[in-house]
């Protein structure tokens, strides 16, 4: 009974964040250990998956080699466009108003054993490293999520697949706008597509920045299906997230301040 009372007392003190310094110290000491253990398991799981899927990997490899060739020519075309864009900007004297690549904070993901819905992960960086609630997290040009909670040494990242995350997006090809909401797992639903607006399977969806929450231009995913056209009802489209949210490894936090 005394241990139950002691637990209750600790819980009451915990409500007032009494243990924050102890927690910060523990996180600081054990971050590298937990990351090491997590990466060991991730490598083990990948190894097991590799050997059990050798045939599929071969087929995937062949199609990836073909895709690589077409991407190389696409990159060349984009480089030409970039050069043209630079020249046009110089001519029109437009200056860069925002450089989102500055001040990125590299963070390692530690999983989140307490969240059984698998819609959030813990990062090994916190307020002492410049991370704050509301900061967006990316991996390359992929939007990964938004910081939900912080302590001095760690923070909780709400993933793009979380149903609690709602943000504005735009179709890169057709410029159709909508709202994206996570669906648990690896999909995101693009909602509130107006009737008559065009959205096609295999279109890429990026953040539009219209909500002021997320910076524009970050890749969310690829459309895999669109709900049937109807004159009265707003449509939905299912987006497959291209980044593996279960194996993020290292990500970048873009501080909003």
């Amino acid at each position: 009974m005394k241990y139950l009372l002691a637990s209750l007392l600790i819980f009451i003190l915990g409500l007032f964040n009494f243990f924050a310094p102890i927690r910060g110290t523990l996180h600081f000491i054990f971050n590298p250990v937990q990351y090491g253990l997590q990466q060991t398991s991730a490598n083990l799981v990948q190894g097991i998956n590799f050997y059990s899927n050798l045939r599929n990997i071969y087929v995937q490899n062949m199609s990836l080699l073909e895709e690589k060739e077409s991407l190389i020519s696409e990159v060349q075309r984009l480089k030409d466009l970039e050069e043209e864009n630079k020249i046009l900007k110089q001519q029109l004297e437009i200056s860069e108003y925002f450089d989102s690549e500055k001040g990125l904070i590299l963070a390692k993901t530690l999983g989140n054993f307490a969240d059984l819905t698998a819609t959030s992960v813990i990062l090994d960086k916190g307020t002492s490293h410049g991370v704050s609630t509301g900061d967006i997290v990316v991996k390359g040009r992929h939007f990964v999520g938004i910081i939900k909670e912080t302590t001095t040494q760690r923070s909780v990242l709400e993933l793009v697949t979380s149903p609690n995350l709602l943000f504005s997006v735009i179709d890169m090809e057709t410029k159709t706008e909508g709202l994206a909401k996570g669906e648990f797992g690896t999909t995101v639903m693009m909602e509130r597509i107006l009737p008559g607006e065009l959205v096609n399977v295999k279109d890429y969806i990026v953040t539009s920045g219209r909500d002021g929450k997320v910076l524009p231009g970050y890749l969310v995913g690829e459309i895999t299906s669109v709900s049937e056209e109807s004159a009265e009802v707003l449509r939905n489209a299912s987006i497959s997230v291209l980044v593996d949210v279960n194996n993020l490894g290292r990500v970048f936090v873009i501080p909003q301040k």
């Binding site: 600790i10 819980f11 250990v33 937990q34 997590q38 398991s41 969240d115 819905t117």
Partner: protein
């Protein structure tokens, strides 16, 4: 004092494995609660006092390593263990009762931690894996008890 230090260290190891390794290996939904499993393994061995101390210490480590309010895990795990010790002493004993006790305790723990967002099958799955872990730890202790404890220590009363 020695057994408290032993429990502190073993619970740190269990929390590290549970939070970093097992959640990757088995997935978050199937991740067994090793801290609860260890406490219940001691309960199966009729080491109720040690089980309560282990649940108390392990619960605090779990909360310190995570983001929940410090103390919530201890309250739920110690509370569940006390309840089932009472059940074992005055109502039911046996293998089935032990299994049910672990599943119910893990479900209560998840309910306090995650709220109402999980469905019944997730509670059952997590409870099943935690029970399995408790049984494995129990058998390890039984088999190697003479290496873990001095000869004066007996498991069965």
């Amino acid at each position: 004092m020695k057994r408290v230090i032993f429990l502190i260290f073993i619970n740190i190891v269990l929390v590290l494995f549970q939070s970093s390794m097992f959640s990757e290996l088995f997935g978050v939904a199937s991740n067994p609660n090793l801290v609860l499993a260890f406490a219940f393994a001691l309960y199966f061995l009729d080491l109720d006092d040690m089980g309560i101390i282990s649940a108390f210490i392990g619960g605090i480590w779990l909360d310190l390593f995570g983001f929940s309010i410090v103390g919530i895990s201890s309250v739920t795990m110690v509370g569940s263990l006390l309840f089932f010790i009472y059940v074992k002493r005055y109502l039911f004993r046996g293998f089935a009762s032990n299994i049910v006790s672990v599943i119910v305790s893990q479900s209560v723990y998840l309910l306090f931690l995650n709220g109402n967002v999980l469905n019944f099958s997730q509670y059952l799955k997590s409870g099943f894996y935690t029970t399995l872990s408790a049984i494995v730890i129990y058998y390890i202790f039984r088999k190697f008890s003479r290496y873990f404890f001095p000869s004066g220590y007996r498991f069965s009363k």
